[in-house]
């Protein structure tokens, strides 16, 4: 059981790094969907385990919600929003992709070092899972910083959200139901708003490069 959870945590980390190495908007959304599927599998595992041991179906419900929201609805929304955007491939980067990949690797090392000081996490398996999950949060945030187009920020936020969920679930094997629902509602609202904004920005300015905001300086 722990073994499969290890494996899934590694695959999550892999999907986060894959995300950093992509350049096309469609690939971002697809990788996010892959990550969402992985989260659903993790939640499903945990859900079945808690069903067997405690008989509670909380986590299974969350798993279903994840599948509905993150695997189906949000990618569809994002695809529709960005269907009319001009450039499909990001060509302009602050730093080139190999450096970004190396920096996400440094982030993994960093999360290992900072988390190894927390007592209670010192045992082998849980430590591995939490380190991987926490790295996903950091890599999501890093992704937000490193991309110039608005899609980067949205996907980065979503990946961070994924990472937070997975960290919580790996370290405690369960989360209060109401907190989870609250987070989901927040997230869906945020995505809707951001999607609408992006469409408006694109129509007005013909580009979603957020760097153009600098032109507003006085």
């Amino acid at each position: 059981m722990e073994h499969y959870l290890d494996l899934l945590s590694v695959l999550m980390l892999l999907s986060a790094i894959m995300l950093v190495s992509h350049k096309r908007i469609r690939s971002y959304i697809r990788t996010f969907r892959l990550q969402a599927i992985l989260i659903a599998v993790i939640a499903g595992f945990m859900g079945f385990e808690s069903l067997m041991t405690e008989g509670s179906i909380d986590i299974l419900v969350i798993c279903v919600i994840i599948i509905a929201l993150k695997v189906v609805i949000i990618p569809m929304l994002l695809h529709k929003t960005f269907a009319n955007v001009e450039d499909v491939v990001e060509k302009d980067f602050y730093l080139n992709i190999p450096i970004l990949i190396l920096m996400s690797c440094v982030l993994v090392v960093f999360s290992y070092f900072t988390l190894s000081g927390i007592s209670g996490l010192a045992s082998g398996h849980v430590n591995l899972q939490v380190v991987n999950a926490f790295s996903v949060i950091l890599i999501g945030f890093f992704f937000m910083i490193s991309r110039k187009k608005a899609i980067g920020q949205i996907i980065g936020y979503l990946v961070m959200e994924n990472g937070i969920f997975v960290t919580a679930i790996f370290s405690t094997h369960g989360m209060p139901f109401i907190v989870d629902i609250g987070i989901f509602i927040d997230m869906i609202t945020a995505v809707l708003i951001m999607g609408v904004m992006v469409v408006q920005i694109n129509e007005k300015f013909d580009s979603i490069n957020i760097n153009n905001l600098r032109n507003l300086r006085g």
Binding site: I99, V109, F113, S116
Partner: protein, 680 residues
């Protein structure tokens, strides 16, 4: 003092060197005879030095002290301490001197009639003698005097061809950096005297307090690091080594920069005792930085000697990595790992001296035959200088760490020592070690690439200039010298246990762990494997298998395809039929992909000039690419400018030109000293 004991052989060596210098002076008129005699005597001295060292290392004698000259003046005694470490480095020096002297017999024939052969030879002998004294010095004062002598004599040798302004500038940078670093070493030695009361290196350093040891470490690091050419203190190396004459570059790159390793091992490991792990970490970090920087700049060089000089920076980085691992594991208590790392470092010193010497000598032969060091003007030399080409290939294969040459053995031992030091088990160290291994791998691959570039562009293809077209084979003495070095490299590559056995005594002296324990497994007659813990390599077996396979393949091909027949035709030219040498790949083009990948570290500027009125059909195009070292531009130049500005301002304040001011200075100094004496 028997006839064939190491102490008498050592004295014999020193006497022969001094005789050689005298002979050079005496025969300064008849240059040809003086060359033969002096270099011959140097070869003899090399043989006796090697014999002395071998006798010592193989017969496990006790370390001895010789007091050649003592006087009532304190500190002025020539005190020789000959232990395993000194013997080993003496062996390396002597072997290199033997081959370089043999080579010089041919090389110096170009100097007859144009230059001052007598001065060159005297300086040459003094250079070797000073390095010898550095290795066998028994007390700090003799060490420092020999160190300074080595620096000054080598300066004169570097600027020997002083009509070239580049050479003079190279010499200036060299002498300034060397002397500044020697001053730091002197400060460390003075600290040593202050806390232990003597300069004798065999005294223990227990009286020195901990933080003074740290200060001494930093001073020794900067002092020896500059001499060894570690980035960021390496800027003199790529200028000075190409400027010096061929045999001198070989000696400088082969053994002079290794005196830095000797100094580090002697002072840090032997004298101060491996105290703190952070010393090792600093050495590791500097080593990684030098290795990667050195090999990157080597790859993009177009001057063949400068490429080899940058490659020396890379190898010194690798040696610093080795010493770093020794210190880290010795401080962490893992003595076996430290012993393995020490063995790897010393073997790398040895093998690098041999193959770098052979490469510099081969490149010297190219310069001798074609009068140019620019790769872009060479090409096609393999048909005109066949023997030199084969020998240079041997050297290139060695430095690229290719089986079955000796470079591979020392590289493998480095990997094994990194691999074994994971056992120390600290988090940060493990990550640093894996990054070291990755950096080492990339450096090895890039150095193989730069050797492909060197060999491919200089020797293969068509000649790119008339210099290269008119090259002829060099005199036999030169090829003989290189040949001995290359065959030594091959020998040690195939039978590494020979070299490893020499190190047993040294390692057990310094670390208390005999190497024989590490070498498990027996020496099978067929494969001569080298076992470390559970890992083993057998280059001899690989070579043997390869030869058998090739023979079987030839038979097989004969069977299927009949006798080999070939048709000589032109290179495929897409039907163009007018291939010129300019249409081949040039050295600059070869290194372009790596330059683009690493453009963050290698910033080059380019300018493009089009001559002619038409925009799309210019008459001629001039394309210039300049690569500036970011280190020099951002660190060194501002520093130099600052110091120059400051000294301009202070110039007339101190040196007023007035006699009264100078008398006043002297008077004030006397008064202050008298006061100081009274107060203490």
């Amino acid at each position: 003092m028997g006839m064939f004991e190491s102490d008498s052989l050592l004295c014999l060596t020193i006497i022969i060197y001094m005789t050689a210098a005298l002979v050079a002076l005496v025969f300064s008129g008849q240059q040809r005879i003086s060359i033969l005699l002096t270099q011959g005597l140097c070869m003899l001295a090399g043989l006796s030095g090697a014999a002395s060292a071998l006798v010592f290392l193989l017969s496990k004698e006790e370390a001895f002290h010789l007091n050649l000259f003592s006087s009532p003046i304190p500190f002025l005694s020539v005190d020789i301490a000959f232990d395993g470490l000194a013997a080993f480095f003496l062996l390396v020096l002597s072997m290199l001197v033997f081959c370089v002297s043999l080579y010089s017999i041919g090389y110096l024939s170009h100097y007859i009639g144009n230059r001052n052969v007598c001065a060159y030879q005297i300086l040459y002998v003094l250079f070797i003698l000073s390095m010898l004294l550095v290795f066998v010095a028994g007390n700090g004062i003799l060490f420092f005097m020999a160190w300074e002598a080595m620096a000054i004599v080598s300066y004169f040798l570097v600027v020997f061809e002083s009509e070239n302004p580049e050479t003079r500038k190279a010499g200036l940078i060299y002498i300034v950096m060397t002397n500044v670093s020697a001053a730091l070493v002197l400060v460390a030695l003075m600290l040593m005297y202050q806390y232990t009361g003597s300069f004798d290196l065999s005294h223990s350093a227990e009286q020195i307090p901990g933080n003074i040891k740290n200060v001494m470490f930093v001073l020794f690091l900067i002092g020896f690091g500059t001499k060894g050419g570690i980035a960021p203190l390496h800027v003199w190396l790529p200028r000075a080594h190409p400027a010096a004459p061929g045999p001198i570059s070989a000696l400088m790159s082969g053994i002079m920069i290794k005196t830095a390793i000797y100094g580090l091992l002697r002072f840090l490991l032997d004298y101060l005792g491996a105290g703190h792990a952070w010393w090792g970490y600093v050495l590791l970090a500097l080593g990684i930085f030098s290795a990667v920087m050195g090999v990157l700049y080597a790859f993009i060089s177009k001057n063949i000697k400068r490429m080899l000089a940058h490659s020396s920076v890379e190898n010194m980085g690798i040696l610093f990595i080795g010493v770093g691992i020794v210190l880290v594991s010795a401080a962490g208590g893992a003595k076996e790992v430290a012993a393995l790392a020490l063995m790897a470092t010393l073997l790398h010193c040895f093998f690098h001296a041999i193959y770098k010497g052979s490469l510099f000598l081969s490149v010297g032969s190219i310069h001798f035959a074609t009068h140019t060091k620019n790769m872009e003007e060479l090409g096609g030399l393999i048909k005109r200088m066949p023997v030199t080409a084969v020998l240079c290939l041997g050297g290139a294969l060695s430095i690229a760490a290719i089986v079955p040459f000796s470079g591979f053995v020392s590289e493998w031992l480095m990997y094994q020592s990194i691999f074994s030091s994971f056992v120390l088990g600290q988090a940060g160290l493990n990550i640093l070690l894996i990054i070291t291994a990755a950096a080492l791998a990339m450096a090895a691959a890039l150095s193989a690439g730069s050797m492909i570039k060197l060999y491919g562009i200089s020797f293969l293809g068509r000649p790119r200039s008339s210099f290269a077209e008119s090259a002829v084979e060099v005199p036999k003495a030169m090829n003989a010298g290189i040949g001995i070095l290359v065959s030594l490299s091959l020998l040690f590559g195939l039978f590494p246990r020979i070299a490893v056995n020499l190190l047993n005594g040294i390692v057990s002296d310094l670390l208390g762990v005999p190497i024989k324990d590490q070498l498990t497994g027996n020496v099978l007659l067929v494969s001569f494997p080298l076992h470390i813990n559970q890992n083993a390599i057998s280059p001899a077996l690989a070579l043997g298998l390869c030869v058998v396979v090739v023979l079987l393949t030839l038979l097989f091909l004969r069977g299927i395809g009949g006798k080999y027949s070939q048709r000589i035709y032109g290179t495929w030219d897409c039907g163009f039929k007018a291939l010129t040498p300019r249409m081949q790949y040039s050295g600059r083009a070869f290194s372009k992909p790596i330059k683009i990948v690493f453009r963050m570290f290698i910033k080059s500027t380019r300018e493009l000039k089009l001559v002619g009125d038409a925009v799309y059909h210019p008459e001629s195009i001039e394309y210039n690419v300049k690569t500036e070292s970011a280190l020099e531009k951002n660190v060194y130049l501002p520093f130099i400018r600052g110091v120059s500005a400051l000294s301009e301002k202070l110039k007339f304040m101190i040196q007023t030109g007035s006699v009264h001011a100078y008398l006043l200075y002297i008077f004030a100094a006397v008064l202050v000293l008298m006061l100081y004496n009274r107060v203490n």
